[in-house]
């Protein structure tokens, strides 16, 4: 028992660096690639596969031809330079037809409108994406859809201007009535007022203003849209509209009000339960039956609406997941402080639920953006199938197979990878729990 002596530490030990053998490249390799016989075998197999892949693809890429007028010319250039057995990529098709992949059959002398719209897109989304920019820039973002619409489709400027006034009317009615009648009713009345204005007011006002001050761009028909222009018009609109719509649907699904709840559930389950292509066919064929005869409803607009619905249903479910992850205490604290329903949602619940849902929301957007290629099924010129088919219909480029797909895939990858990186940036920026 004499062994158990009392002990008091007089000086505390400072932290020491780890032993040298526990850091560095060698350790990393050993732990991650060669930690045992199985892992060593797998590493070697993987290495072999990578080498095989490069060997197979590298010559084809190295033998690329950029200057040629047809597939046959490509082939003969490759044969001359690299020998008769050699294969090579014929990028000349992209060089010759890039504008169709990007813009479809948009009139060439009007391309500047697309450039301006695309450049303005970045100005419009920048303040939405980056909170450090001045908040006043958001007004530009609000105006952007109408500016973009006018630039792309052309026609008199007064249509978009009065459409914007309709939104202004909606906002004014909403602000005037929301305190007295509540948010939902005020928004409904505002929408009705705006709709009446749009249906009965805009046409006449547009015509009269046009006669006073004719300000118009040459009109471009929806048939002429194609390629990535079409994909972006559908994709960007659907992304922008489906997010708020998804939020409302998710809230509606959780609502205590039976009608709102069942409408939301019905919408979400119906849209999610049906393939997108079915909805697209509905857009291109069936809607025509239901609408009053004589109304011609633009095909792109119809497709945009249904793609938006489709995305919104998925977004709603993603956000519902985020809502479910919030502890009840957050709702109770908001209630106990006297915040009303919309204040609590806007200031407390949604900022947190959306933050949790960022990865799911962005995946949905990425999937939806790729799904815009499905519009090929209703005869629109999507970049993947529509335009590739058109280009290959040219006898000069008949045998070109991989190159257009690779080109289109690379562009899709750039957009989607950017979205993915942005979502990771946002997650890092909004990280608040320093646990």
């Amino acid at each position: 028992m004499t062994e158990t002596s009392s002990f008091v530490r007089t000086d505390m030990l400072p932290p020491a660096p780890p032993p040298v053998s526990q850091t560095g490249v060698i350790k990393w390799l050993r732990e991650n690639l060669f930690s045992g016989p199985l892992n060593t075998t797998l590493t070697l197999c993987g290495l072999g596969f990578a080498i095989w892949l490069v060997q197979a693809a590298a010559p084809w890429l190295l033998h690329s031809v950029w200057n040629a007028n047809s597939q046959n010319e490509c082939r003969s250039i490759i044969a001359e330079t690299w020998g008769p057995e050699a294969t090579g990529a014929c990028w000349a098709i992209i060089r010759a037809r890039w504008h169709q992949f990007l813009f479809g059959f948009y009139p060439m002398d009007q391309y500047w409108r697309i450039y301006v719209t695309f450049a303005a897109l970045f100005v419009a989304i920048a303040p939405v994406l980056f909170a450090t920019l001045p908040r006043r820039m958001l007004w530009l973002s609000l105006l952007y859809p109408l500016v973009a619409f006018w630039l792309l489709w052309g026609g008199p400027i007064w249509g978009p201007v009065f459409t914007a006034l309709g939104f202004g009317l909606w906002a004014a009615v909403f602000l005037a009535l929301s305190v007295r009648l509540g948010v939902v009713v005020a928004a409904g009345i505002g929408l009705v007022a705006a709709a009446v204005f749009w249906i009965y007011g805009v046409g006449a006002l547009e015509a009269s203003m046009q006669s006073v001050l004719p300000l118009a761009l040459p009109e471009v028909d929806s048939d002429q849209f194609g390629g990535f222009l079409l994909a972006l018009v559908i994709g960007v609109t659907a992304i922008v509209v489906s997010l708020p719509m998804g939020v409302l649907l998710a809230l509606g699904r959780q609502s205590d009000m039976l009608i709102i709840k069942s409408l939301s559930v019905g919408f979400i389950e119906f849209i999610r339960g049906v393939p997108l292509i079915t909805l697209l066919f509905t857009a291109s064929l069936l809607l025509q039956y239901f609408l009053p005869s004589g109304t011609s409803f633009d095909l792109i607009l119809r497709v945009v609406i249904l793609v938006t619905f489709f995305a919104a249903a998925y977004i709603a479910e993603v956000i519902r997941g985020g809502l479910a992850a919030l502890p009840r205490g957050q709702y109770e604290a908001a209630d106990a402080l006297g915040l009303d329903y919309w204040q609590a949602q806007r200031l407390i619940i949604m900022p947190q639920a959306l933050k949790i849902s960022i990865p799911g929301i962005v995946s949905t957007f990425i999937g939806m953006f790729k799904d815009t290629t499905l519009v090929a099924f209703v005869g629109l010129m999507d970049p993947l199938k529509g335009i590739s088919t058109v280009v290959r219909a040219d006898l000069n480029w008949k045998g070109v197979y991989w190159e257009p797909y690779i080109f289109v895939a690379v562009i899709f990858f750039i957009f989607n990878f950017s979205m993915s990186r942005y979502s990771m940036f946002l997650e890092r920026k909004l990280k608040r729990d320093h646990r």
């Binding site: 502890p327 205490g329 604290a333 402080l337 006297g338 915040l339 204040q343 608040r432 729990d433 320093h434």
Partner: protein, 261 residues
């Protein structure tokens, strides 16, 4: 818990005749389960009431009825002269008069401490931002953590978070404060800092209803202790008689269990 410097405190605390909360024949059910049975309670302004009882006795549910986080199915609850019915306007009015502190703090993790404190004054009371921030800093000084104003809740200790939660309620200038087991989720060394804050509040004459297991706090601050069991008020008395001379068997049993060790 150690006895804080509260011997002189009691003298300062005065109870007025004005009624702050009046609960009459209140009943509540969860489905078939009768959680609260015939609750009758009158709280005067300036009273500090501690509600004790075994878990599941309905004590939290009762104080949550006072700001309508829970709905009662029969009887009457009148807070500051406003009866709680399903009228949303009345509910919001009562909620802005009644502050509540939760067991798990329920701070808003995505907002800084200062934003947590100014949010409700700005949006509910429509106080200008500058003024709301001044008030917030005043109460942060009071709970002794002004230096944390620009941190996020996740960066604070449990005791600090609970003090922020108290300050957040105070920023709404409530006339009644409800505490729902404010120290139950805290480490022992942090309980005292929260109780000290609550004692200070009591000394200033705040009407308080406090569900707690801190019997030292009850003895020091409360002017009435209510013992609940099976959804009913079993016994209520001043703390001295409640602890030294409990009447009902249920109370004696409860006290022997929590004071026994």
């Amino acid at each position: 818990m150690s006895e804080p410097n509260i011997q002189s405190a009691r003298a300062k605390m005065q109870v007025s005749d004005e009624v702050a909360v009046q609960i009459t024949a209140m009943n509540k059910w969860y489905g078939q389960f009768h959680v609260l049975r015939d609750i009758n309670l009158t709280v005067n302004r300036g009273e500090r009431i501690v509600i004790a009882g075994p878990s599941g006795s309905g004590k939290s549910t009762m104080i949550r009825c006072i700001n309508r986080l829970e709905e009662h199915q029969s009887g009457q609850i009148i807070v500051d002269g406003i009866e709680l019915t399903s009228d949303l306007k009345n509910i919001d009015k009562v909620r802005s008069e009644v502050g509540m502190v939760f067991q798990h703090f329920n701070l808003f993790p995505h907002l800084t401490i200062l934003e947590n404190l100014t949010l409700a004054p700005i949006w509910v009371r429509k106080v200008p931002k500058r003024e709301a921030e001044e008030t917030a800093m005043y109460f942060l000084e009071k709970v002794k953590i002004p230096e944390q104003a620009h941190k996020y809740p996740g960066q604070l200790s449990g005791g600090q978070q609970q003090r922020v939660a108290i300050a957040r309620s105070l920023c709404m200038k409530p006339r009644i404060m409800l505490f729902d087991e404010p120290t139950s989720a805290l480490d022992p060394e942090m309980i005292k800092e929260v109780l000290d804050t609550m004692i200070e509040l009591a000394e200033e004459g705040m009407t308080m209803l406090c569900v707690t297991h801190e019997m030292g706090f009850a003895q020091a601050v409360a002017n009435r202790v209510i013992f609940m069991a099976d959804g009913q008020i079993v016994e209520q008395n001043n703390p001295h008689d409640f602890f030294n001379n409990p009447q009902s068997e249920r109370t004696k049993q409860f006290l022997s269990q929590i004071l026994g060790h």
